[in-house]
Symmetry: C2
């Protein structure tokens, strides 16, 4: 294709609102333009690479027997009321009401749409396992859209859903999917980390995230220096780091602590360390599914449901969460433990109501107006200090188990660099990462709430298990740029390059024009995607643009080397070499094929180590 026939508005200046490399380069290379906050239009050259990501994903999904569907982007709100997510999904969901007051949703994900479809079509165990997918537009109303298409409001997602008869079958599909994901990312030239994840608003058990490292990543990853343990901080666990010791013989005592405001003040005042302190925080949890019927202070609470199909929850409940003084509570872990949609620190007035004292004197001893949720760490302190539910008073000589018994003991601590791996005891370090893909075992969450069933071998109605599996297409594309670029621009992996070869005549005139056209036509005949820079620009401008948009192979046609030779240079190498004009197209074709084969070889290598597929 001739460049003059394309639309390639490259920019010399770095756009002012772009922070990360991929956002800057996608704008500068003329791949995208901003329409509004979090809404980007792909221009032709950006769309070419975008479609290549889609194609790789589609090929790998098809290869594991997943079937492509196309549900609508706008779906009825009723489906979401049935699953219970109409209320629980939160403000990321864009709702609209049509001319006849029908509630509609611009799909943020499609568990509901696919579950409803399969519910109507599934009759027999013979139809299982069944894995379906789409590659389609999604909308999530990010509160702070940023980093270009890396975190936009509208985006394209491949979302797959499996329906399985048995946990073993779900395991097999999950395993196939994980393999397909690894092949997809490798074919896109991406290094991904696979980490254990919290399943978040998606619900369910067992999940894995595919992350790329990024200094501006939304996720904190916890990694072990000694083994391959990797987890999102929202899910990470660590080995207990309890201080050995014995229970004190001293009885529980109170101590006046006037003007002692912080843990630092307190430890200085008592000449002890934060590790001896039981920190107690009052949390407000919303839409709690956990049974609280016998929990302290919860007798008056009643479960309600927004619709007959949605799971019943307590609209709101307060909890006293205890943790060792040097540690922090991870709210995502806490919400998961409480099966709550969301948790946040309670208001001062709620704290006063629950503890009977101003903020700063909460403690588990004698607390009866809310359930006490203790992190394991709080239960392994001896001779501890904690608030005494009274202004300017603390308890000392506290023995967990003797002086208080929590309603629940669990793991809600925020794991940090320096903590120890629960698998091998190695030291943890942290990285920031962006999530490109996510696979979950959903279990019965949607199939139960939406009443899906099939007849098993014995003719008995049975509820299938479900899994769901997503990849962000835009984010995968942007991440490839994050991983492959230099100061001059993008360095595309051959698999994603908008064009594989660029031909740059020093001047598009005379013998240079003739040779350039000849090589161009020959490459098109060979099925190579070629861009011919036929503009009337200085050679320096053309070279800069071709480097910026990252074409892997560049052929420069100059009168200096003609009529014998042209110059061939790879984007990821420094030096050019001369190639006879008649051999230029063939040589470029060999380079393209070899690069693609190398990416496929990685894939093959990976495929070999995989057991057979789930279906």
């Amino acid at each position: 294709m001739k460049l003059s026939r394309n639309f390639l508005p490259t920019l010399r200046e770095v756009p002012s609102d772009a922070v990360i490399v991929s956002h800057k380069l996608m704008l500068r290379a003329g791949m995208i333009r901003k329409l509004s906050n979090g809404l980007y239009t792909y221009l032709p050259i950006g769309l070419r690479s975008f479609r290549k990501v889609e194609r790789i994903i589609r090929e790998e999904m098809d290869a594991i027997g997943s079937l492509e569907f196309k549900p609508t982007v706008v779906v009825p709100g009723d489906l979401w009321k049935e699953s219970g997510r109409w209320d629980s999904f939160g403000p990321d969901m864009l709702k609209a009401r049509n001319r006849v007051d029908l509630d509609l949703v611009v799909s943020p994900t499609a568990e509901e749409a696919f579950t409803a479809l399969i519910r109507d079509e599934l009759a027999s165990y013979r139809q299982l396992p069944l894995t379906v997918y789409q590659i389609n537009t999604k909308y999530r109303d990010e509160i702070r859209p940023r980093y270009g298409v890396m975190r936009g409001r509208e985006f394209t997602m491949k979302d797959a859903y499996s329906f399985n008869a048995t946990p073993e079958s779900l395991d097999a599909t999950y395993h196939d999917m994980a393999g397909a994901y690894r092949r997809i990312f490798r074919r896109c030239g991406l290094s991904v980390l696979s980490v254990k994840a919290d399943a978040g608003a998606m619900g369910g058990t067992g999940s894995e995230e595919f992350m790329v490292e990024s200094t501006v990543g939304d996720n904190t990853l916890i990694l072990c220096r000694s083994c391959d343990y990797a987890a999102n901080v929202e899910k990470a666990a660590c080995k207990g780091d309890w201080t050995e010791g014995k229970a004190t013989a001293e009885k529980l005592a109170t101590i006046d602590t006037p003007n002692v405001k912080t843990i630092e003040d307190l430890t200085a005042f008592l000449k002890t360390t934060p590790r001896a302190f039981i920190k107690t925080l009052i949390y407000r949890a919303v839409n709690v599914e956990l049974d609280l019927s016998s929990a302290p202070g919860c007798a008056a609470l009643k479960k309600t449901s927004s619709s007959p199909e949605a799971p019943a929850t307590y609209a709101e409940a307060l909890f006293a969460v205890c943790i060792r003084g040097d540690l922090d509570v991870n709210e995502t872990k806490l919400a998961a433990v409480l099966k709550a949609r969301e948790v946040s620190l309670a208001s001062d007035s709620d704290v006063e109501r629950i503890t009977g004292a101003p903020v700063g004197f909460a403690g588990p001893v004698g607390l009866v107006s809310a359930p006490v949720v203790a992190d394991e760490s709080a239960m392994h302190i001896h001779d501890a200090v904690t608030g005494a539910l009274k202004l300017d008073v603390h308890y000392t000589h506290v023995e967990p188990g003797r002086d208080f018994t929590p309603w629940m003991t669990t793991d809600v601590r925020t794991v940090k660099a320096g903590d120890r791996c629960p698998v091998c005891g190695g030291e943890f370090y942290e990285k920031k990462g962006n999530e490109l893909g996510h696979i979950f075992k959903l279990g019965y969450k949607y199939t139960k709430s939406m009443h899906v069933s099939y007849l098993d071998e014995n003719g008995k109605a049975t509820v299938p298990l479900m899994g769901c599996y997503g990849i962000g297409v835009d984010r995968t594309l942007a991440s490839a740029i994050e991983e492959h670029h230099d100061d001059d621009g993008i360095i595309w992996p051959m698999s994603l390059a908008p064009f594989q070869v660029a031909i740059v005549p020093v001047k598009f005139d005379g013998e240079m024009k003739e040779a350039a056209l000849r090589i161009h036509d020959e490459l098109e005949r060979l099925g190579v995607e070629v861009l011919l820079d036929d503009r009337d620009e200085r050679p320096g401008v053309k070279f800069k643009d071709i480097d910026l948009i990252g074409i892997p192979v560049r052929i420069v046609v100059g009168s200096k080397n003609l009529p014998a030779n042209v110059e061939l240079k790879l984007r990821n190498e420094k030096d050019a070499r001369l190639v006879p004009v008649a051999e230029a197209a063939g040589e470029a074709k060999r380079i393209v094929d070899a690069a693609l084969a190398a990416l496929d070889a990685l894939e093959a290598l990976d495929a070999e180590s995989s057991p057979p597929t789930g279906r």
Copy 2:
């Protein structure tokens, strides 16, 4: 592909809510399923054909130099306020408000999004002409969605927009686009009628619709028996059919007409015909752009604008529309003439206010409280009868021009079968049709309201012209089924078939299984899309399904003909023939290639007769 690995829920029963053939067959063949009113999910086999329509459209767009973009589906409402369509588009537009109270629109079309994009990127005349397109999701909140994907709420549209420096350049792009459209529909096996159309809410001048005939079509088409004149009734004109005659010498007179309610009563009472009667209807028009500053009865009206950028309009105005008694007013033509968003018959109280009499006695003579808009037909009657603006009184001996002078004389009649062609005088007949594609010359409508400009050869800021060009993908697919089916199911044109060849072993076992697999693998090697029915079903069930889903070539593998032969049958022919097993794949491949070549040959034929492209 093996059928057991696909998802093909065929239905024996005709679904109760399906009226038209394509809707019934798409449901029965397992191509689509209903998610909600006007919202359909494509299942795998439906999606395969859908993607083929998309691909054909994409190839033909690319061939005329149109460039593919991908704007978002959700766009900011501000863009629509700028163009003025936030208010004028009407309730088909789905609006939403996000978490920070930003107005958003689920795109019903994309003039605004593309105009805004090009506005920012267009600098010089050297960039023109520029034609951009997308194939993307659209949503229009149809008040009565019906006929499956033929008239759904969410659908996929190819929409292209051209930006041109001169009317001649716009003509050339428009001509290229019309040629591409003809090739697209022919490659899809569709017979389309190209008709003149009203531009409707899209605005602008000069447009053409591509229609397929359909008994349940939304459009009435007016066609000439003697020439190729074809127009939508919303735009059609006809030759004047005036009764020759002379002006009467009699003076205007009144006549009492007690208990005369209808034109029939009146013509019986006066012993005349409806052709002698000047029918006068009071219309209410909304958002009128036409200048009414000197129009009778309009002195108090003021133009207002919903935004600084939107064109100013009169919110509402009343008009007295006169037409010959045997004819009807076409409201779309009337709205176009008045540059109004919408017109409808005025309320009884408005009629009484304007005419000073109850409904039934309106007439143009002496009417001063509203502008009189006369259809040409009303001005060619002599010695006419009309209402006298008084209960139970009519005027006789009315001479248009003598006894009244309309504010405007124009063409607002509904053209019908039997009327005469304005080009050749031939007789008109009518057809019902569905619109598959639509091309318009928009002129300056959006480029002016949204302030697009470029620097011309002399460095002068100049506003470009625009054209817009749409095709409904879903509707094109459904129309191919409407045109190609029989009582047993779909008969796909080779270009759109989900699979080109089906292999049906009478039993998937022993030598039949072996031969079926051998032919299947050979066809896949040859690049033919093949579906192998490996189900454990009776042969009759398999044959019925393969016929229903419309696979063009069927190979039956039965022990009766083995080991020598298999049976090969085309979906659109009655008889099968025997083919040696070893030659079956090659023969099927030849048939597929020949069928595709035949569709391409039609295309080539058409291309030859086209002048060079616009760019």
